[in-house]
Symmetry: C2
Subunit: 216 residues, 2 copies
Amino acid sequence: MRARRLEVLVWQRALEPFAGRWSLPGGYLEPVETLEDSIRRQLASKVDVREVAHLEQLETLSDPDRVPNEWQLATAYLGLVPTDADPAIPVDTAWQRVDRLPPAAFDHAAIIRAGRDRLRAKLSYTNVAFALAPAEFTISELRDIYRAALGHDVSATNLQRVLVRRDVLEPTGGHRAPGPSGGRPGALFRFRARELEITDQFAVLRPPGPARAAAS
Amino acid sequence: MRARRLEVLVWQRALEPFAGRWSLPGGYLEPVETLEDSIRRQLASKVDVREVAHLEQLETLSDPDRVPNEWQLATAYLGLVPTDADPAIPVDTAWQRVDRLPPAAFDHAAIIRAGRDRLRAKLSYTNVAFALAPAEFTISELRDIYRAALGHDVSATNLQRVLVRRDVLEPTGGHRAPGPSGGRPGALFRFRARELEITDQFAVLRPPGPARAAAS
DNA sequence: CCAAAAGTGTTGCCCGTACACCCATGA
DNA sequence: TCATGGGTGTACGGGCAACACTTTTGG
């Protein structure tokens, strides 16, 4: 998936079943291969996507009817690509807006919804957005990413405050030149870490007092 | 898993590999069967556990080295059983304390840790505790369950307030007779719902204003 | 009357939202 | 000096933790 409008990379099936409908990239697991390795291999070879910034398992689907006339398990993953990445994708594949998804094959519509929901949840309590953002960005650019992913408006003011308080962002010192219509130049930021971190320990019922010893 | 001390149901392997070490119940998927059906079948037939109040998928493990000399995938599930359930388990199986787990087979120690962590997290923002609690209980009994699962002290006062404010608990009207040493009789409660519900929409960066229309 | 256990009232704090206001730039 | 967009200061409110205090029981 990528942002500006949140989009999924899907390809249009030529053959039955589900000819003409859109399908997530994927394929069969090769012998002695990790699921994650397999996904990366499929993405690199089939759709030439190599800059997956974050990859996480969603769920393994086992409904016997999910593939017609066949018994097939699938493990769904969520992969995120920065907005500025623009891989050369094959002709039968396209980025489709997640909120206006054309008819999908198999149970892929549900998988896409699950991925979107997981992303939305994690935007609230982790730094996942690092996987959607370019290396450097202004707060308003980041706000556009959050807007696209969350599907509702986001205030740049509060976005900045939350992410800086949580120590997720750091200023690079640079500034972005204003557009043709003027305006104050925006300060550039980067994500302090570029792997997934939980930044909001939202736990209610947390350990008492100052003695927050981690029990194992 | 079950509570009072958080415990896992495991069985001790007789044969290699990992003879003598403890292993989670499980088995092979039968043709044209759902993963969840399979788990319930295994639990019922192998360890005679039928009162699983909540079952949820954790992760599918695919490391080629997770089983020696063989390539085997496994999908791990978390299943919860009320504290008052006491299934008749076979001789080679036992409830083991999660915080003092004896040596486990395969990657099962990691799975158990993952299950424990998932449970701890969900106790904070869902009503999962319904799956650990008996039908009726006093606040202090419920507190003991939370204490066991979270691994730290929990205040009965605040536990009650949180769960009542969220409308997770409802009083049954009944009271539990005090113990031999006296004390005020405790009011009985039950969970309003007995399926998983998210009770704390912890989302930061939530939709603005009163117009919280759900975007789809 | 005392101890024990349950339950309520109150306060303080953290943190996210909202909104008013100030700053830097191009035309 | 005006329009445009970036950034800061501040007030309000929700929700949880902590703790003092009250209530109900058995000895």
